[in-house]
């Protein structure tokens, strides 16, 4: 413990060093998105909850802020701690997520909302295992892909990864939660791209996945309806296309600059899921195309800074981790945005950082913590550590100390390179 204390004592000194540009961009973008989210969740939910007599209309805002605060603390803690701990925790976290995904299937344990059994736990401690699994899989994939020696020439080389991911995707998709399953697939795809898998396999894989998704989509009548209504939602405006149409009406009626903050009419019982999956439509209605552009710009910033972090990170693991988390955020964002804009069929994923969604918000903020960690120069000496990882787990303090030293050096390095770049 004295050594830990010493390590802590070192921190204020190290923080006087200017943070890298990417770090600042990511943090700023995240904070902007969170602020935007708080405002829009309040705006989109208050009228409805008030009219339904559920308190003073701030219930969703309060919960959003509470989960946001938890996530924010987690983000900060993770951003400062090292990545070695993350590496060690990857296995248990993945195991935990998979167990939970199985548990949620069990009647009596999983909580059903809107016909989908996605929730575990009770009261404020309720959470969605699929969200945890999402992050766990990114960590696991980064670890496996970075661990693999030599170039990735054939998918066979990552068979265990594909199997585990496939299992998770199946479990998530059967909840059913097609949206999260797709996000996981896209993210893994992005990681495989980053890891250097030859393009032909990716294309084959993508083709096969598309066929599978299509089969899955056609396997249930409501999903079939979603697909046909996607092609022409206005023909089904009364039933299956209702949400899509109402979303477009909200977005379109906002025009360029919107009706003004809080002035949405669509949020009052017209548009289902106005404060969660379809919050972008309310942003469009209240703040217009300008508001939507601002959100897209913030995601663009996250993509830019996140992938820049990935390029500059030292070590394959840090690179892949940064790329994976950025891809996770961006895949989810794009899927949500495309859905609301009518470019993709209804899938139902929350808009990252903005939508009300307790587990998603906390998990993504934790992920952002990892990204910030890497941005701040965090890395893990995977090749050196990994083989002995299990054996050396008892010498965590030693690892931490060395990591602290390493990260200090990286920080300086990053700073130098930035100056050079400038």
């Amino acid at each position: 413990m004295p050594r830990a204390a010493a390590a802590n004592a070192k921190r204020p000194r190290s923080r006087t060093v200017a943070q890298p540009l990417e770090y600042n961009i990511l943090l700023t973008a995240t904070l902007c998105l969170l602020a935007f989210g708080a405002i829009m969740v309040y705006s989109a939910s208050s009228a409805r909850t008030l009219l339904q007599g559920q308190g003073d209309g701030s219930s969703f805002l309060v919960r959003y802020v509470a989960y946001g605060a938890i996530g924010f603390v987690a983000m900060h803690v993770i951003a400062r701690r090292g990545l070695d701990g993350v590496l060690r925790l990857t296995g248990p976290l993945l195991a935990f997520a998979l167990v939970c995904l199985v548990l949620v299937k069990l009647p009596g344990l999983g909580v059903t909302v809107n016909g989908a059994r996605r929730w575990l736990g009770a009261g404020p401690l309720q959470f969605q295992p699929s969200e945890v699994a999402k992050l766990a899989l990114v960590l696991y994939a980064a670890k496996i892909l970075a661990h693999r020696p030599g170039r990735l020439k054939h998918p066979r080389q990552v068979t265990p990864l594909l199997l585990v991911t496939g299992l998770a995707v199946l479990l998530v998709a059967s909840q059913p939660d097609l949206g999260t399953a797709l996000v996981i697939c896209f993210t893994l795809c992005a990681l495989l791209i980053a890891a250097g898998l030859p393009m032909r396999y990716l294309l084959i894989g993508a083709g096969a996945a598309a066929v599978l998704v299509l089969l899955y989509a056609l396997s249930a009548s409501y999903r079939r309806a979603r697909l046909t209504t996607f092609i022409n939602p206005w023909a089904h405006a009364g039933d299956a296309g209702f949400q899509a149409v109402q979303g477009q009406i909200a977005l379109g009626s906002g025009g360029l600059f919107g009706r003004g903050l809080g002035q949405s009419v669509q949020k009052v019982f017209y548009l289902p899921e106005a404060h969660t999956d379809f919050i972008l439509a309310i942003i469009g209605e209240e703040l217009g195309v300008a508001g939507v552009m601002a959100v897209l710009f913030l995601y663009g910033l996250v993509a830019y800074a996140g992938l820049r972090v990935a390029r500059r990170a030292s070590g394959a693991y840090a690179k892949l981790l940064a790329a994976g988390i950025t891809s996770l955020i961006l895949s989810q964002a794009c899927l949500n945005v495309f859905t609301v804009l009518g470019l993709a069929p209804l899938t139902g994923v929350p808009l990252p950082f903005i939508s009300y969604g307790s587990t998603n918000l906390t998990v993504l903020l934790a992920g952002m913590g990892l990204l910030l960690n890497v941005a701040n120069g965090g890395s893990a000496h995977l090749r050196a550590v990994a083989p002995r990882n299990a054996k050396r787990s008892r010498h965590g303090a030693d690892d931490r100390d060395r990591r602290g030293r390493d990260s200090g050096a990286r920080r300086a390095g990053a700073g130098r390179s930035r100056r050079a770049a400038g």
Binding site: A190, Q248, S253, G255, C334
Partner: protein, 553 residues
């Protein structure tokens, strides 16, 4: 590592592409599609109900309210939004004044998005319904027309339809000024139909206040007198009017049987009709005054010109006798009028000649609408000279073979009463406090002729006159009785049983302040104008003269 970094660059390119695609789509939806999407939003969110203007009040010349509009709401339901039809019906039924199962049946009609539960529900009860906050139940503000005096002048006032438009009477003819201008309201509703934002885009402008020339007290008296006539002689109907001959203002215009203006649909069409303008009849003897007036003005006869009259007179194939057979007599023009001699009137008519006679009939306004501000005015029927048959001049001078409306008779008699000016009668005195200019009149006979006629018409009340039993102490009266066979269109003959008993008179005789006309359609127990109609004239005059503080004379 280089591959890794290249691939990361590729990823960035992918995400950037997707974001740009999303941005382009957002711009497309917000601009190019923005208009139609905004329309779609407005069509489901915004309703623009009309704000019905408050209809103008109708008052009599003293300000007594005859027709007023009170706030009332239509209650409607959107059945599929009603959560529990049975419970909702139970709560609404007592307020709507309908049985609960009838309301429940309306609410259970799932195949429609709109049903009326009640029209024009009084505002206090509508407010109670509003307080219940029942989902799917809507209130549409409006007004209900109320006639506080119920039957008073109901045929004159007319009625208003459920859409707030006048259907009959003054409510119809003056609808444009009574109705006002409906406003428009913009209501933004949420998906459950609850109002989020209400704004009046165009305020409603209330209708104008209409002040009539009618005096409610006189009108009331006239209606009572007619009711008495109705009870005594069991006629089909009766019409009476009181006119101020100096101005042409109608002080009363009444029709019997009475109609409750608040429930006009309960009355048969004959009763609802304003027969003063919509009823044509052959006037009979009351018309002789115009025969004589024309002859005197032309100088054909003088009031004291004497005529030797046989018991009957032959005109072409027609023989005209008196109503009460008599022997040969010598009568002056004045006596001819006072005793209502048919033979005398025909003699004077023949003396005038058909062309002159026709000109006089038309100068007194017969055969065309008077232009009184009441709807549904008939024109009557006056034969052109070219269509006269040989016997026509045996009919017309005694008021047969010509059809007139009561209002035409009133207008023509007004000219005799006021010194020779023929002027359209009118019933609207002020609109929103501004005096309506009196219609212009034109002279038809000289002051002198008019005065001579009035003097001659006093004879009806003198001993031997047709209305000699009617008198009002202190006042000299003048007038003319009429007892006319109705023309039976079924047989093409004059009916032997259906008559119109009428009386036209004024008081005081020398300087008339009141012209009173009474028409009784098909009296049963007695047919003579002097018996049926003249006493009604007397009753009305004996109320109106002191009521209007008209000095005896």
């Amino acid at each position: 590592m280089a591959l890794l970094e290249r691939r990361i660059g590729l990823l960035f390119a992918c995400f950037l592409g997707l974001l740009v695609l999303a941005a382009a789509r957002a711009v497309w939806l917000g601009t190019v599609k923005g208009g139609s999407l905004a329309n779609a939003a407005a069509s489901q969110q915004v309703t623009s109900p009309a704000l019905p203007a408050r209809r103008g009040t109708i008052v009599d010349r003293k300000g007594v309210e005859l027709a007023v509009s009170e706030p009332a709401d239509d209650v409607s339901a959107t059945p599929y939004l009603v959560k529990n039809p049975v419970r909702t019906a139970q709560r609404l039924a007592p307020l709507l004044g309908k049985p609960a199962d009838a309301v429940a049946q309306l609410l259970a009609r799932r195949n429609t998005g709109f049903v009326f539960l009640a029209r024009s529900l009084p505002a206090d009860r509508a407010a109670q319904i509003d307080k219940l906050h029942l989902p799917g139940i809507d209130l549409t503000p409006g007004h209900v027309r109320v006639y506080p005096r119920q039957t008073l002048a109901s045929q004159l006032l007319g009625s208003v339809g459920i859409d707030g438009r006048g259907l009959a009477g003054l409510e119809y003819s003056r609808d444009s000024i009574l109705h006002g201008q409906d406003g428009r309201r913009r209501v933004v509703k949420d998906a459950l139909g609850q109002s989020i934002n209400v704004r009046d885009t165009k305020p409603a402008r209330a209708g104008a206040r209409l002040e009539l020339t009618i005096d409610a007290a006189i009108q009331d008296n006239v209606e009572r007198v007619l009711a008495g006539v109705g009870q005594m002689y069991r006629p089909k109907g009766a019409t009476a009017f009181v006119v101020d001959p100096r101005t042409g203002e109608l002080l009363a215009l009444a029709n019997w049987p009475r109609v409750d203006a608040n429930q006009p649909w309960t009355a048969p069409p004959y009763a609802s009709q304003d027969r003063a303008v919509g009823f044509t009849y052959e006037p009979g003897s009351t018309f002789k005054a115009f025969t004589v007036a024309g002859a005197i003005e032309d100088g054909t006869v003088k009031p004291d010109t004497a005529f030797n009259l046989a018991p009957q007179i032959q005109v072409a194939d027609r023989t005209i006798g008196e109503s009460h057979p008599r022997g040969p007599v010598t009568l002056t023009t004045a006596q001819i009028l006072a005793q209502s001699s048919n033979v005398g009137a025909v003699t004077i008519g023949l003396k005038m000649g058909r062309v002159r006679f026709d000109q006089w009939v038309r100068r007194f306004g017969f055969g065309r609408r008077t232009g009184v501000d009441l709807p549904g005015e008939e024109r009557g029927l006056v034969l052109p000279v070219a269509k006269y048959s040989g016997s026509t001049m045996g009919n017309l001078p005694i008021g047969q073979g010509i059809s007139v409306t009561p209002i035409q008779m009133a207008q023509a008699y007004t000219a005799i009463a006021n010194g020779g000016i023929l002027r359209p009668l009118h019933v609207v005195r002020r609109v929103d406090g501004r005096l309506v200019p009196e219609p212009k009149g034109h002279r038809v006979i000289s002051q002198r002729t008019a005065q001579e006629l009035r003097q001659m018409l006093e004879g009806a009340f003198a001993p031997g006159g047709t209305a000699s039993e009617v008198s009002i102490p202190g006042y000299k009266l003048a007038g003319k009785t009429g007892t006319a066979n109705k023309f039976d269109t079924a047989t093409g003959q004059y009916s032997k049983s259906a008559y119109i008993a009428s009386f036209m008179g004024f008081a005081p005789a020398l300087h008339p302040r009141l012209l009173i006309g009474v028409m009784v359609d098909e009296p049963q127990t007695n047919i003579y104008g002097g018996v049926v109609a003249a006493p009604a004239f007397g009753s009305i005059a004996s109320f109106a003269l002191p009521y209007l503080r008209i000095p005896p004379g």
